[in-house]
Each structure stands twice: as structure tokens, then as C-alpha cells.
């Protein structure tokens, strides 16, 4: 049933956020791995063997296993999501490894992503950044006809390029500063490109960028390793746009003052 390979496997194990972690050598459990298996299926096979040997299986995050939910993600030999361009961990296949190759697997490492267990990290900071402005306010019932706003094809396509972000956090793991600039800029790029997103643009940029800092992510110093690691190939040009919008918003934005209408 196809080809198999043996691997020299080292995996980061850590029982909880404050526990000490270490690499464990699982070479013994990483033999005869089918090359058609995905990287996560490789970990499944290792886990199945660990379990039967009475060892706690390696905890890792995953769900859709088709590269879209953004839940999976480990650092493989120093690279977030491993060696293949534009490929999430779940879509990486073992045929890209050589027989006898050494593989080191570790979690995303960033101050703002505390480790939960083994390869699992806490990415809730991303959710809080979205809560700080990553939306368009549109109450159900209030929407005009969908074709009432014309959006040039080019603009829609650009917005879609940015909206393709899956929120996996590889950009943060790749960045020497642990910055989530690409994540924030992609969401801003999506909404701010569209006419529907313009009314809240300033508030959105200020809110999200401020929250990004509060969460302990670093700043961007133009290494662009994020773009290289991004499984959806989101462009760093959005970071430049975010910076421009941020400066403009800082200069001109004043929160609206609630004025109570008199009825008298």
C-alpha cells in the first residue's frame, strides 16, 4: 500500500501553561509512516502507538483538516506549518519528507500566545482584536438591497484577497517580534476596502491596532517573514495600508459625542 518512511521525531511536550516543557524523542513511534499521509495523520499514527504503549498522546489543535478553519498549526523544523509554501500543517503531506529525516515539532511561540498543552496555544487574543472593531455594524433588518451598492470587481477581489486570512497565527509565530500585524492588517484591509466598511474605518483601525498592542504582540519592523509563512499568502502590502490608515485616523478621529435630542 504505497511507500513508507521512518523518521527521527522530536516533539515538544508541556503539560500546562506554567509547567516546564521539553523535547521528547519519539523516533521509536515514527517508523513506517505512509508517504500519502498528511502531517496530522502522521501525528495520529504516532499517537495511536503512544496510547497503546500507555503514554499520553501528543495534544495538538486541528479540526477541518482541509486548510480553511485555521485551527491547526505547529512549527516544523523551525518553520510555521512546515516547509511547503502556502500550505497549512493539515495539508502538508509526508511525501515531502525523506526517509530517515529528522523532524522537530513545537508549538507557536509568542508572548501573546500562551501554551495550553504540548503543541496547543491560546490564540484568544485574536478574537479580542476582532472584538475591538473587526466588524461592520449592520443590524438585521436594516440592510438595503444587495445590488444597491455597486462595488467594482477589482475592489471586491482585493477585499477578498485580504479576507482569505484563516486566523491561524502562523504570521505571529514567524515574526521575530511576535507581531500580529499581518493578521490585523488583513482584517482591516478586507473591511476598509469596501464601501460598507468606510463609515467605521477610523474607529476600526484605532480599536484593533490598540488592542493588538495591549495583547502583548510586538511591532512590525519589516522582516516580512509573516508573508512567507502565511498559508493563504496574504501580502504585507496590507501592513503599509494599515499604518497609513492608523496615522490618518489618529489625527482626525474624535469619538462621536452622544447628543440627547430634546423633545420639548
Amino acid at each position: 500500500m504505497g511507500e513508507t518512511i521512518d523518521l527521527k521525531l522530536h516533539v515538544w511536550r508541556q503539560s500546562g501553561p506554567n509547567a516546564p516543557g521539553r523535547f521528547e524523542d519519539y523516533t521509536h513511534y515514527a517508523k513506517a509512516i505512509p508517504t500519502h499521509a498528511s502531517f496530522l495523520e502522521f501525528l495520529d499514527i504516532v499517537n495511536e502507538r503512544l496510547i497503546l504503549a500507555g503514554i499520553e498522546p501528543i495534544a495538538f489543535d486541528h479540526d477541518c483538516r482541509e486548510g480553511i478553519c485555521g485551527m491547526c498549526g505547529v512549527v516544523i523544523n523551525g518553520r510555521p506549518h512546515g516547509p511547503r509554501k502556502a500550505t497549512t500543517t493539515c495539508q502538508l503531506h509526508m511525501r515531502h519528507f525523506r526517509n530517515g529525516e529528522e523532524i522537530w515539532v513545537e508549538p507557536w511561540r509568542a508572548k501573546a500566545f500562551p501554551i495550553v498543552k504540548d503543541l496547543i496555544v491560546d490564540r484568544s487574543a485574536f478574537d479580542r482584536i476582532i472584538q475591538a472593531g473587526g466588524y461592520i455594524t449592520a443590524r438585521v433588518g436594516s440592510a438595503p438591497d444587495a445590488n444597491a451598492i455597486l462595488i467594482p470587481k477589482q475592489v471586491a477581489e482585493e477585499a477578498m484577497d485580504a479576507a482569505a486570512c484563516i486566523g491561524c497565527g502562523a504570521c505571529v509565530a514567524a515574526c521575530p517580534n511576535g507581531s500580529a500585524s499581518l493578521f490585523v492588517a488583513a482584517k482591516l484591509g478586507h473591511f476598509n476596502s469596501l464601501p460598507q466598511g468606510k463609515p467605521e474605518l477610523d474607529r476600526r483601525v484605532l480599536g484593533m491596532v490598540t488592542q493588538h498592542e495591549k495583547e502583548g504582540f510586538g511591532g512590525c519592523s519589516n522582516h516580512y517573514l509573516c508573508e512567507a509563512a502565511c498559508p493563504k499568502e496574504i501580502s504585507v502590502k496590507w501592513i503599509a495600508k494599515m499604518n497609513r490608515d492608523f496615522i490618518r485616523a489618529s489625527l482626525r478621529y474624535a469619538p462621536p459625542v452622544e447628543r440627547k435630542e430634546g423633545y420639548g
Binding site: 500500500m1 504505497g2 500546562g16 505512509p34 500519502h36 499521509a37 498528511s38 495523520e41 495520529d44 495511536e48 503512544l50 496510547i51 497503546l52 503514554i55 499520553e56 498522546p57 495534544a59 489543535d61 486541528h62 479540526d63 477541518c64 483538516r65 482541509e66 480553511i68 478553519c69 485555521g70 485551527m71 495539508q91 503531506h93 495550553v116 498543552k117 490564540r123 484568544s124 478574537d127 476582532i130 473587526g134 466588524y135 455594524t137 449592520a138 438585521v140 436594516s142 440592510a143 438595503p144 444587495a146 445590488n147 455597486l150 462595488i151 467594482p152 470587481k153 471586491a156 477581489e157 477585499a159 477578498m160 479576507a163 482569505a164 486566523g167 478586507h190 469596501l194 460598507q196 466598511g197
Partner: protein
């Protein structure tokens, strides 16, 4: 079991409007007195939670992933239907309604389906307002495509990522409400039981997936929007965590389970490559527009390089059997035919359990006709995905495809208000049974999830609250709450204890269960096979409970324990699916009972038969199952009446 469907009467196009007017409202100042539990943050759950919170209710929301943004709605590729008729090609609410009922092989409620078609147009407006970057034409208008063989172009899409963009829109609306303090979000938190007091749903029991802590959450109404149960088959296009536990536990607490055997098999997924395989990946159905499906005519050719097989030795079975529709036959028929040819020994690709499960989807002719660039433009991302997974280049070698479990039409029974037979328990999205009958049309699940969450539940939940008032007298110390927690604790401890000495992993059992169901309750079913499955599954379940291996305890993140609890529920559901398939002694839509199929017509050249034969006299109804204690079920029916649609046999 009380199965009052509460469907309105009168002219169908007025029913929802009239019904809405009759529903009671909750005074804005009173809304904050209510707490609504929403389990699930997919299209259905996120849109319901966000909308109810925006109206002023307090919402407590749950998902098992680390973020609400990752619900499996995110994986939908193709698109979302709406009867906008923006293309002026003859679409209408009535046409979408009619096609949905017919596509479901006349096993859905007219009133519900009409409402769905009616609301579809508002969904697109709402999603554009929320910033969904749908595909556009050069002039800036929204683009549409035809999907799954329909004759009108009514499908809206955002590249191949429509589900992702719709879910992120619903998630952003939910995030706004989290920031406003109206939604309290609990990710990595799994519902493992429902709390019912005096016949009313009053809360849920959850397990925190990081700390293992069991908690009771109480509210005035509970909404389950927990998605489909396709993972009962082990291999499916669902995400690994998709489960039936929330609806199954509700079923055990009294909620009727409707049409459990209605599960859709999608014809174009990438075939299984080996036994270790953990999931199947869907390839968009649009590929069938240009690809030609075939297998070798001779079994000895099945292992050869397909390019070396001459034209005369290729069996284009869909084109030959159904000359009119060819490769664009509906999902269920295309799937079944693939299974037939593979079972005949003509399948291609790796042999697993003695069968090669794969057929070719060949673009050679399309590339010759249109040129590689045109094909790349249309399908480039799909071809890349195929290559990433299989390591084969589909521009040069024909793709291999095989059917995969994809969607579950069955689910908890709900009335027109989306309320189950347990008062105060609402069910939305794929988790309910409501709109798709025995077969779902492409691009209509996304539509249903958002219709339920944005546009239906906000009215019907309000009506329930207005009529019943805030729930009183139930707190953490109520006996029903304490006993639900105790039961959950005992169940978990049992698994941890057995697990220490177990001999086989959870996946081992899950794969075996999946194989039984796939063989006996999959694309085709027959009485003998179903009876066999009904004997095998309970045995395997017993073995599972006695021999499953779980390392680690319950008070920590323990993925094997999570899986064991889900698989435990899948076992019971599997039994019910087979029972339902056995009792439904007809063929309809996805439910193909070999005993009931058309015979070849000698007067019609090229007639192959092999299509569903419905029995409307006996089975034009919803089968609703009641839990009667371990492994026992009672069957009830809700008759279906058709006033606007004429029952006819599908013909191709």
C-alpha cells in the same frame, strides 16, 4: 410524543408574514431579563446569537473549537442560493421553493421550504451589509453561477470560500456583541447533556475541554446549532470534531429525532488513500461541468496508467446510462453509480479492504477544447488542492474521485417555529431536520443556517419567552441540575477507569462503526444488510465500552476522552439510523433501498433503471423517533401534505 408542526395555513406566500404577526413580542426593556443559551457558532448559531443579543437579550454561546470563527461552516466552498433573480433568467421564490421540495424527493414541509426561499433574498442583503466580499461583475453588480445542474443562476459565491466568508461575517457580528457585553462566549467548551425541568429546557451541562471541569449553565431557552452528524461514518467531509452529542443527549432527554437515515453522500471527494486516513476532502461539484467521469471497461486495466487506456476501453458510465444529463446527474445518482462500478471491480486507485474505490474525472477533452489556461482559470485552486493531497498533477493524469458522506438531512424534529417537542429547546441549521427532505440541493445549507439564525429564531424565540416568562425556581441546586451533573461525572469516570486497562483506541472502534454504517446504511441499503448492522453495532458498542483505551484523566485536556464521549453517542445514533432505514421501506432521495428501484424499460433505448421508487401512500411522512431507554426507540410520524407541489417521480 406531541408532534404539532404549528405550520400556518392560507396562501403559502402569506404564511410567514401572517405567522410573524401572530407571534408575541418581548418589550425592549424586558429583554435584558432573559438569558438564552446558544450552542454552536456556525452560520446558524453565530447569526442567532448575534441577532438575539442585538435585540437586547443576554446570550451565552458555546463552541468546542478554540474560537467561534472555526465552526465547520467555514469549509463550504460552492456558494449560497437566493431567489434574487438578478440574472433575469426566470428565477423566483416559488421556483426555488419548488425545486427544493422536488430535490428533497417530497419529504419536507411545504410551509418551511417556502419560508426558506422567501427569506433567501434578505440573507444576501444582510451579508453584503456585513461586508461579505461576494464575487462581482465588472459593472459592480453581484455575480451568480449555476450550481448543481440548476437551470437558473442563483448561487452567490466568494471564490471557493463562500462558507468561510459567510461565517466570518456572522462571527464578526457575534464579536461586536461580545464586545458590547451582550454575548458571553465560551470556546473550548462542549455540551454533554441537556437539562430539562418539568418538560422545559432549562440549561445544559458542559465540559471545559481545557480544565475538564463540568458545569451547569441555566437559561430561559436553549438553542442547539451544533451542525451535522456525518462523522458517524468516521470518514466524511466534516471536521474532526463534528459530533452528534448535543442533539443526541437532547434526544435521550426526550427530543424527537427525525429521519436519522437521511444522510447525503457527495459524489466528488478525493478517494481514501490508506487505512490511517482521518477525513475526506471534498472537491467542488463544479468540476463535473467540464470533467468526464469514467472507469476502465476491463478489470485488468484498472491498475494501468489511465492515459494508456484507449477510448474504446473506457466506460463513461454516466454519459452512457443518462445521455441527457451525463456527468451532471444529481448527487445521489452520481454517487450510487460510482459505487456500482467500483463494486463490480472496475474501480481505480489503491485497493482498501479488497475494493478499489475510485473513478476517473478526466479533463483531457476539456483541456483540448478550451486550452489549459481556461481550465486553470476555472479550476486552478481545486487542481492545486488535489495535487497537494494526492501528489498527482490533474492537468496531466485524470483525477480520481469517490463519493463521501457530506451532509445530514436528518436531525432533531422541530415545528415551524424551530422548536423541538421539548418546550424551550430550539434547533437550527444542520442540526435540525427541517427543510431538505430526503436530499439537499447544493448551496442551500448555508442559506438555511442563516435563515434560521438571522431571520426566524429572533421572532420565534421571542414568542416563546413572551408566552412563558423568565424561568424561575431552577438554580444550580435543583435536583434535575445536580443529577445531570452527577450522571455526566459517572459517565466520564467510567471511561477513565475502563480506559486505563483498555486494549484498543477510540479511533479503532470508530473506524469499525463507520465501516458498518458505510456498507449497510450508506449509498444503498437493503433489509438483510440493515438487520445485520443492527446486530453488529450494539455488540461493537459493548466491546467499545469494555475495551477502549484512554490514557490520562478527566480533569485535564484529554482528546481521547472527548472522542470517546462522542463515539459513544455515535454508536447509539448508528443503531437508530439503521432502524430508520429499515422501517422506511421505500426509496427516496438519498435513501436508496435496493428493494425499491426502477427496472430497465425494454421500450426505452438505453434505459438502465436503478432509480428510487417512492411509496407516497405509506411514507409521505416524517419519521420521528422517541428514545425509550437504552437501545429502544418508538417510531412516530408527522404526515406531509402537499398543496402546491405535485408529487412526481424524478426522471432523467
Amino acid at each position: 410524543m406531541d408532534l404539532k408542526s404549528n405550520t400556518p395555513t392560507g396562501p403559502i406566500e402569506k404564511r410567514w408574514q401572517n405567522h410573524k404577526f401572530q407571534l408575541q413580542l418581548v418589550n425592549p426593556a424586558n429583554r435584558r431579563k432573559y438569558k438564552i443559551i446558544v450552542v454552536g457558532t456556525g452560520l446558524a448559531g453565530a447569526s442567532a446569537g448575534a441577532t438575539l443579543a442585538d435585540l437586547g437579550y443576554n446570550v451565552l454561546s458555546f463552541c468546542y473549537q478554540d474560537s467561534p470563527r472555526r465552526a465547520h461552516s467555514i469549509a463550504a466552498q460552492g456558494g449560497i442560493n437566493a431567489a434574487k433573480n438578478y440574472q433575469g433568467d426566470g428565477d423566483s421564490v416559488f421556483r426555488l421553493f419548488y425545486e427544493t421540495i422536488k430535490g428533497g424527493d417530497f419529504r419536507a414541509r411545504e410551509s418551511n421550504v417556502y419560508r426558506l426561499a422567501e427569506i433567501s433574498v434578505d440573507i444576501i442583503d444582510q451579508c453584503v451589509a456585513l461586508g461579505v466580499p461576494f464575487a462581482r461583475e465588472y459593472g459592480g453588480l453581484l455575480a451568480n453561477r449555476s450550481f448543481g445542474g440548476t437551470q437558473v443562476s442563483r448561487t452567490f459565491y466568494a471564490r471557493g470560500q463562500t462558507g468561510q466568508q459567510l461565517l466570518l461575517a456572522a462571527y464578526s457580528a457575534l464579536s461586536r456583541m461580545i464586545a458590547a457585553g451582550k454575548v458571553q462566549m465560551r470556546p473550548r467548551c462542549e455540551m454533554i447533556d441537556l437539562i430539562v425541568v418539568d418538560g422545559r429546557a432549562r440549561g445544559i451541562v458542559t465540559r471545559d475541554l481545557v480544565t475538564g471541569k463540568l458545569e451547569a449553565h441555566l437559561g430561559d431557552a436553549v438553542i442547539l446549532a451544533t451542525g451535522g452528524y456525518g462523522n458517524v461514518f468516521y470518514l466524511s467531509t466534516n471536521a474532526k470534531g463534528c459530533n452528534a452529542s448535543a442533539i443526541w443527549r437532547a434526544h435521550r432527554r426526550g427530543a424527537g429525532f427525525a429521519n436519522p437515515c437521511f444522510t447525503q453522500i457527495h459524489p466528488t471527494s478525493i478517494p481514501q488513500a490508506g487505512e490511517y486516513q482521518s477525513k475526506l476532502t471534498l472537491m467542488s461539484e463544479s468540476l463535473r461541468n467540464d470533467g468526464r467521469i469514467w472507469v476502465p471497461r476491463k478489470p485488468e486495466d484498472c491498475t494501468k496508467d489511465p492515459r494508456s487506456i484507449p477510448e474504446r476501453d473506457r466506460y463513461y458510465y454516466l454519459e452512457e446510462k443518462y445521455p441527457k444529463f451525463g456527468n451532471l446527474m444529481p448527487r445521489d445518482i452520481a454517487s450510487r453509480q460510482a459505487k456500482f462500478v467500483c463494486d463490480q471491480g472496475l474501480g481505480v486507485g489503491p485497493e482498501i479492504d479488497g475494493v478499489r474505490r475510485g473513478v476517473y474525472l478526466d479533463f483531457t477533452d476539456a483541456i483540448k477544447r478550451d486550452g489549459v489556461e481556461v481550465i486553470r482559470e476555472k479550476y486552478g485552486n481545486l487542481f492545486d488542492m488535489y495535487e497537494r493531497i494526492t501528489g498527482e498533477n490533474p492537468y496531466e493524469v485524470p483525477m480520481r474521485i469517490y463519493p463521501a458522506t457530506h451532509y445530514t438531512m436528518g436531525g432533531l424534529w422541530v415545528d415551524y417555529n424551530l422548536m423541538s417537542n421539548i418546550s424551550g429547546l430550539f434547533v437550527a441549521g444542520e442540526a435540525n431536520f427541517s427543510d431538505h427532505g430526503a436530499n439537499r440541493l447544493g448551496a442551500s445549507a448555508l442559506m438555511q443556517g442563516l435563515a434560521d439564525g438571522f431571520f426566524i429564531l429572533p421572532y420565534t424565540v421571542a414568542d416563546y419567552l413572551a408566552r412563558n416568562g423568565p424561568s424561575k425556581g431552577v438554580d444550580e441546586n435543583h435536583p434535575a441540575v445536580r443529577s445531570a451533573i452527577k450522571e455526566a461525572e459517572a459517565r466520564i469516570n467510567q471511561f477513565i477507569e475502563v480506559g486505563q486497562k483498555g486494549t484498543h483506541t477510540v479511533d479503532y472502534f470508530h473506524r469499525k462503526l463507520g465501516m458498518i454504517l458505510w456498507n449497510e446504511c450508506g449509498m444503498t441499503r437493503n433489509e438483510k444488510g440493515l438487520r445485520k448492522a443492527l446486530e453488529e453495532i450494539p455488540k461493537l458498542h459493548e466491546e467499545f465500552r469494555a475495551k477502549v483505551k484512554i490514557v490520562g484523566g478527566g480533569e485535564t485536556l484529554n482528546r481521547e476522552l472527548e472522542k470517546a464521549l462522542r463515539v459513544d453517542d455515535f454508536f447509539e445514533l448508528g443503531v437508530l439510523m439503521c432502524l430508520d432505514a429499515l422501517e422506511r421501506d421505500e426509496s427516496c432521495g438519498c435513501h436508496f433501498r435496493e428493494e425499491h428501484q426502477t427496472k430497465p424499460d425494454p421500450n426505452v433505448p438505453g434505459s438502465y433503471g436503478g432509480e428510487c421508487v417512492r411509496d407516497d401512500e405509506r411514507f409521505a411522512h416524517v419519521a420521528v423517533w422517541e428514545w425509550k431507554g437504552e437501545g429502544k426507540f418508538a417510531r412516530h410520524v408527522e404526515p406531509l401534505n402537499f398543496e402546491y407541489v405535485k408529487l412526481e417521480q424524478r426522471k432523467y
